[in-house]
Amino acid sequence: GKRRAPCLPLFQGFLSGTEQGRCYLCGFKLWVPVLQNNQGPPLVGLITIACHLVKEAKRSNLLGESAEGRAVVQQWLEYRVTRLDGCTKEDSKTILKELNIHLQDNVYLAGNHFTLADTLMYYGIHPLIVDLTVQEKEQYLNVARWFDHIQHIPSLRHHLPPVVVLRNRIYTSRHH
């Protein structure tokens, strides 16, 4: 089966300095990540673990600024887990279209600041974007812009290959 959330170790690296010695990702149970820490029962699920890591790193601003902001972040996290993970090829096109519409008016997914929603969506969408052709990137221009923006945030990308987002400015699509 396909492992979901290979991004959690990357995310831990991004938050760096959180519990590296204290708790560890103890593998996957039915393709869902499980985090074992010293206090309390193991945490199961991508969103649960990610939120826990953020709070431990004392970067709660990543979860959203206001009550409304926090709700929007949670909605995007749900979107990531329910719609994006394990989607088919057709679904991925729908997802990209929806994201493109949303990102037309928004620089970040939730509100005006970088949040956990952007991080997990970036990790989730990376395999999709890597395979897009130049024309498809032009079609989903807002997603490409947001993606290029997020992948330049320091210590987020790690070893994931960078995706080149170049807009063809000299020739319009008519010229070869």
């Binding site: 812009r145 987002v165 400015r169 319009t172 699509s173 010229h175």
Partner: protein, 288 residues
């Protein structure tokens, strides 16, 4: 031909004036007309820019958004921000503050990228002094080739004129109005060039596919050719034309979109069926 007034008029009256010479003269009635008739030989810079080395230099090395207080400048800004979240780099900085302050009002809703950027930077109003970077004059930001003319007028172009020698002795009647108009037109040109064309250029191609010998199964050959599916390619009618010795060639027509499919790609794919196809030729190529 007796030259009447200036070099410009002389060339206009002379029948053997070369195309290149026309391009090298300053913008006058001649060039405006030629520009509107759709001459696209120089896709990036309009013809009137070649009148002097100084002006050409200015267009290559100068940056800016045109006049940010006008809609043409906002269009350039919108185009610039289509694939960028911020003016410079990947975090909000003083560059964004500088451009934000030059833009007096929220851009209209049809310039969605500029509006998105504007609303986003507006949310940083409280911390605008603490954003990283150093505020530079507006001419340091934006796409190259478009001069910044926000509120300072065409003062920039005037300064450049003084030092360099104008190669064609162009007239001194370059006044502020004309210069301003030129910069505005440049901004509009750049913005227009970046927009996608509504029409899709299509061509109808007639291909001749030749088999190895008369034993080759032509039905199978046609099936192979028609199995080639590409975006922008539509197969049309086909017929078998005898070429002698019992050998028949397949003449098949197709309609392609110019920017998606080329004859070389088609040739590659058709000749890949080495068992059936000996060679392929383009018998006719018509633009639709």
């Amino acid at each position: 031909m007796r030259p009447v007034r200036t070099v410009r008029t002389c060339v206009f009256r002379c029948r053997t004036s070369s195309f290149l010479l026309l391009f090298l003269l300053q913008g006058g009635g001649v060039l405006r007309r030629s520009q509107s008739s759709g001459i696209n030989a120089f896709p990036v810079l309009p013809p009137s820019s070649f009148s002097s080395w100084s002006r050409w230099k200015q267009l290559i090395f100068v940056m800016g958004f045109g006049d940010l207080k006008s809609s043409s400048g906002l269009k350039v800004l919108n185009d610039f921000l289509t694939d960028r979240s911020f003016i410079e780099g990947y975090v909000p900085s003083q560059a964004d503050v500088a451009v934000f302050e030059a833009v007096s009002a929220p851009p209209p809703a049809d310039l969605c990228h500029a509006l998105r950027w504007y609303n986003h930077i507006k949310s940083y109003q409280a911390q605008k002094n603490s954003l990283p970077g150093v505020k530079k004059p507006l001419g340091q930001y934006g796409p190259t080739g478009v001069a910044d003319t926000t509120s300072s007028g065409p003062a920039a172009s005037k300064d450049e004129d003084d030092d360099d020698i104008d190669l064609f002795g162009s007239d001194e009647e370059e006044d502020t109005e004309a210069a301003k108009l030129k910069e505005q037109r440049l901004a509009e040109y750049a913005a227009k060039k970046a927009k996608k064309p509504a029409l899709i250029a299509k061509s109808s191609i007639l291909l001749d596919v030749k088999p190895w010998d008369d034993e080759t199964d032509m039905a199978k050959l046609e099936e192979c050719v028609r199995s080639i599916q590409m975006d922008g390619l539509v197969w049309g009618q086909s017929k078998l034309v005898p070429v002698g010795y019992g050998i028949k060639k397949l003449q098949i027509s197709c309609v392609v979109e110019d920017d998606k499919v080329g004859t070389d790609i088609l040739e590659e794919q058709i000749t890949a069926f080495e068992d059936y196809v000996q060679s392929m030729d383009v018998a006719a190529f018509n633009k639709i």
